[in-house]
């Protein structure tokens, strides 16, 4: 079973990398780009076969290590 984890900065937390990417895209001729927020994507392979259990395990991993919940949100997607 595989899990995909998206980690993003919470609203209101300054994202200087996202801002730099936004400015670079404007400079490259993409004026339609609005706000850019950069995050992390982590893919995990799990031995667990129960989808609900796998999801709760990965959520525990997010809280323990993968995300810093002071500044980051996470979302977990589990698939076969």
């Amino acid at each position: 079973m595989k899990a995909k984890v998206h980690i993003t900065l919470k609203n209101g937390v300054l994202d200087p990398q996202g801002k730099a990417v936004e400015h670079a895209l404007h400079g490259l001729g993409f004026p339609s780009v609005g706000d850019v927020r950069q995050g992390k994507f982590i893919e995990l392979t799990l031995t667990e076969t129960d989808k609900a259990k796998a999801k709760s395990q990965v959520e525990a991993m997010c809280k323990a290590l993968l995300a810093n919940t002071v500044i980051e949100n996470y979302s977990v997607e589990v698939m076969d």
Binding site: L14, P16, Q17, L65, L66, V70, I71
Partner: protein, 229 residues
């Protein structure tokens, strides 16, 4: 004073701080490897600067879950003083010994220079040799020193007098220009509630000897020796 310096793979200020401690204590501190699962009897634990575990995932995140960190937490609970410098500040913050988080610098760049700090406390074991309002010169060298905490935490830190140092001008003014990394409220270092744990981005060990160009950092080690010996 019995002191230990924690060594992670990627620590690079462990020897520097050991030299500074040796000078002030008159004896060498114990160097403790990150995999160790026991600590000797100690008065002070230093979590040094560097790039523990290559800053993988987030700076300090892997170090915060290393085997020795459980022992550091236990010792901190008993009142053993813990000093986290630079990456050490990031590690002990990730480990939950201090609130908040160190984010990427506002200007995105790694900043390596001397900065001025306003001393906000002279009561802790780390700061007795300083006076409140002193302006000291201490070097920084970091890409992720932008202190962030929610408003409630910031109010509590200020209300309880738990901010140890703030970035300031040479004249002691807390301006935005004097803030090298975008830290909220110009925060350069904070204490835990009991003022037994201090985390700071600047490196006192880098200006702790006249041969290094200054001694403003040495007072911190002398404070610790005076209080804990």
């Amino acid at each position: 004073m019995k002191a230990a310096v924690i060594v992670f793979p990627g620590s690079n200020c462990d020897r520097d701080v050991a030299v500074a401690l040796h000078q002030s204590i008159g004896a060498a501190p114990t160097m403790v490897w990150h995999r160790d699962t026991s600590l000797p009897d100690l008065d002070l634990i230093v979590v040094p600067g560097g790039f523990s575990y290559g800053d993988y995932l987030r700076c300090g995140a892997m170090g915060a879950h290393s085997p020795v960190m459980k022992e550091i937490k236990k010792a901190a609970d008993k009142g053993v003083r813990v000093l986290g410098i630079c990456n050490g500040f990031q590690v002990i913050t990730e480990a939950g010994l201090l609130p908040g988080v160190l984010m990427r610098n506002r200007g995105l760049k790694y900043v390596c220079k001397d900065v001025h700090l306003k001393v906000e406390d002279s009561q802790s074991a780390f700061t007795t040799k300083y006076s409140v309002g002193d302006v000291v010169r201490i070097p920084i060298g970091h890409g992720e020193g932008n202190y962030f905490a929610d408003d409630e935490t910031l109010k509590r830190l200020d209300g309880d007098g738990l901010v140890a140092f703030r970035y300031c001008t040479p004249a002691g003014e807390l301006t935005d220009d004097a803030n090298p990394n975008g830290s909220q409220r110009n925060i350069a270092g904070i204490f835990n509630k009991s003022r037994t744990v201090l985390g700071m981005m600047p490196h006192p060990e880098r200006l702790s000897d006249p041969k290094l160009g200054g001694t403003d950092g040495r007072k911190m080690f002398e404070s610790l020796v005076e209080t804990l010996s």
